[in-house]
Symmetry: C2
Subunit: 884 residues, 2 copies
């Protein structure tokens, strides 16, 4: 119904809450206009128009008429006409979606320029050179963005001209040179776009709007949306705005500003600007910018006005704002604002400060922190004790340290990343086309660009360490090498970068975990007051347990005992498995009993007074043995080399044993409680070790809280049998020691059947812990080891799965968890229900677990703060994440 | 509450419907008594008493008092006293559970015998030899059964005595010899039981009752219950009955009779008897028996009375009865009756005849056939065209033919059977201790015993071929060899047996499927009228499809296309997988298209007019390649033998490819629809082949009904994507051919997630087929290949699982199926819902699927009749299986 739909809004008609209609940029331009700030007038085409365009492949009926009407109104307001040979109106045409997608879509500046308008501009400004420079910039941008002409062709023409004129800088080109360039650019368009350059401003506008619509569907925009989970059907708005020029001489400037420091959160205006430049020059990092505070000296009055406007915006938005401004011949224009991206440290400090300043409530402060971003605070740093030989220093663009192989290409970074290699993506400067490589990299290093350059902004958003503008680095991308003062670094060489200080180091630097700030503790303390979901940790060692406790873990949700079977214990474990006699097996078990008891003493001590869930042995025993393929190859070699028969016999026996234990699908084989039933002595030894440790601590005045967890239960009878066997041992140990220890016995729910029959399983379980890793594997029929390399990437790319189900809990798997909880509670209303898969540390999953009504989640120590925050946000309702 | 519980019933007090209280034998003795048949008086101790004994380990309070009271009543009725030196009462003490467990539990005869009673018996019978023979038999049986003395010791003593007396047969021993034997037997008891032989009849009775109770828990009884799924908590009753003697001279006899022929079902009295013998002699197959009909000549009046009684019983029970009788000095006694076991052929004929005779209704006839037993009718037979060189002939004890390795020992049979070897258990005669070996064997061959011997009865029950009494066979078990007229057959040699004709053949005879009888078609026709569940077949070839159609299949529920990728197609498939260029791959696909199209033409023809569900390729591609371990070993050998480098390169490349495709858990890896999405060209080729075949047939006047099934769907998006891709191909083919063909596209539900989200999946599925094999694997987290060898036996033994979930659908898995059906129907009320796992051919599972409300089950061709019957029985309510 085109007649009923309004496709175009003047800035005066919109407001900040219309971002789904006008896009973020359009809505904020409207809001600034309503606030009375100096915004160059203009209007916005709605996202709805874009969506209709995607459905039909054509502009919706009536759109062009509406645009025409608003253009005329704009001309009237400005007293200028587009294409006017005396005083032409020039406009910018910019994309603007509901969620910021910086640099992902297309922009056209100086639209309206043609052979007439350039005369008018020259007349109006009395600056012919400026007029022709604007004209050639327009043809170049329009040619590249709208007509899809290869951008390098224009650059080449400029370089040739400069050579011919024997000048070095673009600015050295005279008006006459630029006239020549305009002609040449038009020729380039004719040849490479297969059409004349459109001189009719109305056609220019129509083509530019269509180009912006199309850019919503370009590859880098689609990639970006996948990364940030932005739906594809939102569409982009298009903003048509009067051009103002920051490059009209030394009384002009352009810049980017933040109301507070986006790296530290400090309450001080922050940003970069350039005198006599277009906005693109600042953002693209092509020229070295000046710090915003210098503006106070250079243009004191304008600086005062700008800072006042920034203050207005921050108070209005009640959040740190990111602003673009232009000064055109001493007149300040506000070109754009939005809530600014920031580092995790800044996010915490800003939120805490704003509570202090009574700008926001504690609940809002908690809601404003993106849990995923917290992770960057917990990123490792260079070990302060490490001897660091600094190769060079760049800007500390995104905090945290990283170590990896130097890679010069996003595709290679992605390739190596998939293979599990750690890489540092090293570029002159990144562009939106590098996004997939940045995702795959541990850290980003650039030789160019400031703290608001593409690399810096994106890396901060991703929480990845970034050092940028390290200009001592000379990159030779062709030969896959960079050099710093004669030191050469090849692709594949290991380097370390420290995004907190800007240091770049050749070789691997030892990393250490960071210390969180006081705001970190403050805001997480508020989160703890809000949340109802418990947060425990997965920890197998006293060290991990202590660390997690420092991060706020309220106990251990999963202590995996198999990790205690490795290292120097492995030979004992192999002796147990391969024992030829009962004595030999008992001997091995006795040794294991002793070491496991010591393991448990350490863990109970670290978690004294808090519950500790210990999972009995889970993996198949053959995981502790050499691989049959290696043994067979070795044997074949020995046979071929004529080794005497008697020496081969032992090898053959070992091989035979190992092959007998091998399984087609070990994931679904003899493991978990099936081991406990098949080899009862192993679980009995483990239960004994746990209880002897607990009894000893209890005697020493400690307060161990033991939860014994039986893994991989599919049928209530398995748990029942093992519970009885365990309780017999527990009774023996406690009466032997003469003390009673709090204990409970429960199970992991990780086999679908256990969830389906949870009402039965609950009859003999004191608690359930959903092992969502295995539960996802079995509910999907996915072997994680196999699918992540083989077809999951394709599934995500084709959107067959919306997300990696091993990172964020899948709806179907969540349904199985919900069923298990409901059935479990039906039998035993107060049964403890936890989650100990990796999903316990994923914010979106934590929210789901809160909704399902679990008792607690358990995650790795470093994810504990994140889970605390996410659990609080789940209570507060849908988290409004300011950085999105 | 012993005061309120009645533990003992006189035969006059009970009835046939009390079998859970009195056991089958006791209930039927009571029923015969009420019918006025000549039953030796006695009383029954209830199964409840046995169960209390198992709970406490002691006789329940009051039991012995009740026994005492009933004993006194019995003595009064008989006018004899137990242990009376003038006219002693002797009794038998026999077990009798609710379900017949022939030979599984203990029996004691002649109880009451002691040094006084033997005098009385001698006086009363005027036959001292008989009295002492009875005495020594009693000591021998009591010693063995109650006092657990090794039976061989008594046999040895008899043999020594016979040697000493230079006689050959037991019957040649004189009264004096037997007196000596009695003394010696008492000595054996004293030495080996560590106590005096108990002479007090009351103590004898108490000990015998306890021994019967205990025999409920012996290994062979427990094994039997596991095999026939009889609960362990039913307990056994104990029948104490006045002894009558079939060995009191030539006017005495004992026998076993069936009211109709249990092998063929013919309406004629059938059985065996022995003149002057104890009942044990007939059943144990120790002496060669006479056919029952001979009794007409030998004892005409008694035969007439017996046949009249048999007729009474059959009309009363409205079923074929199995009877034990004894003639003591020309007086007929009915010792036992029960509904008789029969072959499947007999079951069908008896049921059909009884409908004809108006004894039972058609519904009852259908209910009376055990679906599992039908299987034996469909067992293969010797190929009539095969040249068969008969080694020897025995009795045709259980129909069907079998081929396997000769094995002389039940343990070895079980061992080899587990490894997948086919074996023929070959014994002099089987005993209940051989049960596990019979379960494992393909067929049973004995050199001794009649058609009612242990081997024959049990084999018929199991539906296994059995040839018994092949007395030309001389077994030398020690040397693991048998010989027939000089031909020696070693353990491990292959033989073939034909239980329908009794033939035994050295070597392998080709087997062919049998032709079912007219009663088979009749009763299955009745079943078809009753059932509401459809029955289809799993068939991959035109031959299987035709066979299944003959057996009544109403279409194909599962045609696996991977079988079409093997044999001479394998090289093409390997070419497709390993193709180094796109051309090479397309070339392979084109070849496969052609052969697959021909495959489908054959199948559609065989099922013309009926629906054919074709599953697209399911297994992982690496299943079609050589094993990486073999390749690696081969390569290691080649390397060690100094093969030139250039010859190794190709091998190395192949190995690398194969290793790259290998998976940790192929069950959960790149297979099913995941292949379809990863390699779209394979599914497109298959869909094209299917539709080209269907279009061609349609053009030729056929009526193909195509159902394309996409396997292993976990997420609706998988099915949606592949449906769209398939429909594009279908549209192309149909418009290319210019005909339209009925088709539908659906999915297998075999991944738990698909069941949990079946409401979503149903939006793009025309049908679901539950693949309960994989669904069981994933719901349990069981890899069938691994667990059946590794821990399932232990799970069944310890009753952690009540049944093998791959044979009978597990409750938890059934719940997942139910959920899938409910959710699927919520979205699409008329969605077709089938099952195509092996459970589709398991009667108990079929009943479950009927209850869940599926549209059809699909099973292997030979299971189709069984599924038809089971589906009808599901409608009729709980099937009363007469053979249990």
């Amino acid at each position: 119904m085109p007649g009923n739909t309004k496709y175009v809004y003047d800035f005066e008609e919109g407001s900040a809450d219309m971002k789904y209609v006008l896009g973020g940029k359009g809505a904020n331009l409207a809001e600034m206009t309503r606030l009375g700030l100096p915004v160059p007038p203009g209007f916005t085409i709605t996202t709805g128009a874009c969506n209709e365009y995607y459905q039909t492949g054509e502009f919706p009926d009536g759109l062009l008429d509406e645009v025409e009407a608003h253009r005329i109104k704009l001309e009237q307001k400005m007293g200028k006409k587009i294409g006017d040979p005396d005083d032409p109106l020039l406009v910018s045409v910019r994309s603007g979606a509901a969620f910021s997608m910086p640099g992902m879509m297309d922009t056209v500046l100086n639209l309206g320029m043609n052979d007439d308008a350039v005369q008018g501009l020259a007349k109006q400004t009395g600056d012919e050179r400026f007029a022709y420079d604007s004209y050639r910039r327009f043809i170049q941008m329009f040619g590249k963005v709208v007509l899809r002409v290869e951008g390098g062709l224009f650059e080449e023409a400029i370089n040739k001209l400069k050579e011919k004129k024997s000048v070095k800088l673009d600015t050295d080109l005279k008006a006459g040179d630029l006239k020549e360039l305009v002609k040449e650019f038009k020729d380039i368009v004719r040849v490479h776009a297969g059409r004349e350059f459109p001189t009719d401003p109305h056609e220019q506008l129509k083509l530019a709007v269509e180009a912006v619509f199309k850019s919503w569907g370009n590859k880098r925009a689609v990639d970006y949306r996948r990364l940030y989970k932005i739906p594809d059907n939102l569409g982009t708005a298009v903003n048509i705005q009067t051009m103002v020029f920051g490059n009209k001489g030394n009384d002009s400037a352009t810049g980017v500003a933040f109301t507070r420091d986006p790296a530290t959160g400090e309450k001080v205006p922050y940003g970069d600007y350039l005198i006599n430049a277009q906005g693109e020059d600042v953002v693209a990092g092509i020229r070295v910018t000046e710090p915003l505070l210098n503006l106070k000296e250079k243009m004191p009055k304008l600086a005062e006005e700008l800072f006042a406007n920034m203050d207005t915006l921050e108070r209005h938005y009640r959040d740190m704002c990111d602003i673009e401004f232009t000064i055109e011949q001493s007149k300040l224009w506000m070109l754009q604002t939005r809530v600014g991206k920031r580092t995790a440290a800044a996010a915490l400090r800003i939120a805490a400060d704003m509570v202090e300043e009574d700008l926001v409530t504690k609940d809002e402060a908690v809601q404003r922190i993106d849990p995923d971003q917290l992770d960057q605070l917990l990123h490792p740093q260079f070990d302060p004790k490490a001897k660091v030989d600094v190769l060079t220093k760049g800007l500390n663009a995104s905090p945290g340290a990283a170590v990896g192989k130097v890679v010069f290409d996003a595709d290679i970074a992605e390739e190596l990343g998939k293979n599990g290699d750690k890489v540092i993506l090293t570029r002159w400067e990144t562009t939106p086309d590098d996004l997939h490589g940045m995702v795959a990299a541990q850290g980003i290093l650039t030789s160019h660009g400031g703290k608001t350059s593409h690399a810096a902004v994106v890396a901060r958003g991703m929480g990845k360490p970034c050092v940028c503008g390290a200009d001592a680095i000379k990159i030779d991308a062709k030969n896959r090498i960079f050099s710093v003062d004669g030191t050469q670094v090849k692709e594949g060489d290991i380097i370390s970068i420290d995004g907190t200080t800007g240091r770049v180091v050749l070789g691997e630097v030892q990393l250490v975990p960071p210390k969180p700030s006081k705001e970190f503790d403050l805001i997480l303390g508020w989160a703890d007051e809000i949340r109802t979901l418990g947060v425990r940790t997965n920890a197998d060692t006293p060290e991990d347990a202590e660390k997690a406790r420092q991060f706020g873990a309220e106990g251990i949700g999963l202590a995996r005992t198999e990790h205690m079977f490795l290292g120097d214990r492995l030979p004992i474990v192999q002796q147990m498995i391969l024992a030829k006699s009962e004595e030999e097996r008992q001997d091995a078990l006795a040794k294991l009993l002793k070491v496991q008891r010591d393991d448990f003493i350490g863990i109970f001590k670290a978690m004294d007074g808090l519950p500790v869930t210990i999972r009995l042995l889970d993996p198949p025993l053959h995981e502790f043995l050499p691989s049959p393929i290696d043994l067979r190859v070795e044997l074949t070699k020995l046979e071929a080399s004529g080794t005497p028969e008697h020496e081969l016999t032992e090898r053959r026996e070992l091989l035979e044993k190992v092959e007998r234990m091998a399984e087609q699908n070990p994931m679904l084989g003899l493991r978990g409680c099936r081991l406990g039933i098949t080899y009862p002595e192993i679980y009995k030894m483990q239960v004994r070790a746990i209880m002897e440790a607990a009894c000893q601590l209890k005697k020493d005045g400690g307060d161990p809280k033991v939860e014994i967890m039986i893994p991989l239960v599919a049928h209530v009878n398995e748990l029942n049998t093992l519970r009885q066997e365990s309780e017999a041992v527990i009774g023996e140990v406690m009466s032997g020691c003469g003390v009673a220890v709090d204990y409970s016995i429960g199970t992991m729910i990780e086999v679908p059947r256990a969830a389906v029959t949870a009402d039965e399983v609950a009859t003999v379980a004191d608690f359930f812990s959903f092992g969502t890793n295995d539960l996802t594997q079995m509910t999907f029929g996915f072997s994680r080891d196999d699918i992540e390399a083989k077809f999951l990437p394709r599934y995500l790319e084709r959107k067959i799965l919306p997300k990696n189900p091993f990172e964020t809990i899948d709806d179907g798997v969540a349904e199985v968890v919900r069923m298990g909880c409901e059935k479990g509670r039906k039998t035993k209303p107060d049964i403890k229900l936890g989650v100990c898969g990796e999903h316990g540390g994923d914010p979106e999953s934590v929210k789901m677990f809160h909704e399902i009504g679990l008792t607690y989640v358990s995650c790795s120590p470093y994810r504990v703060p994140l889970a605390r925050l996410a659990a609080a946000q789940a209570v507060l309702g849908e988290a409004v994440v300011t950085t999105a």
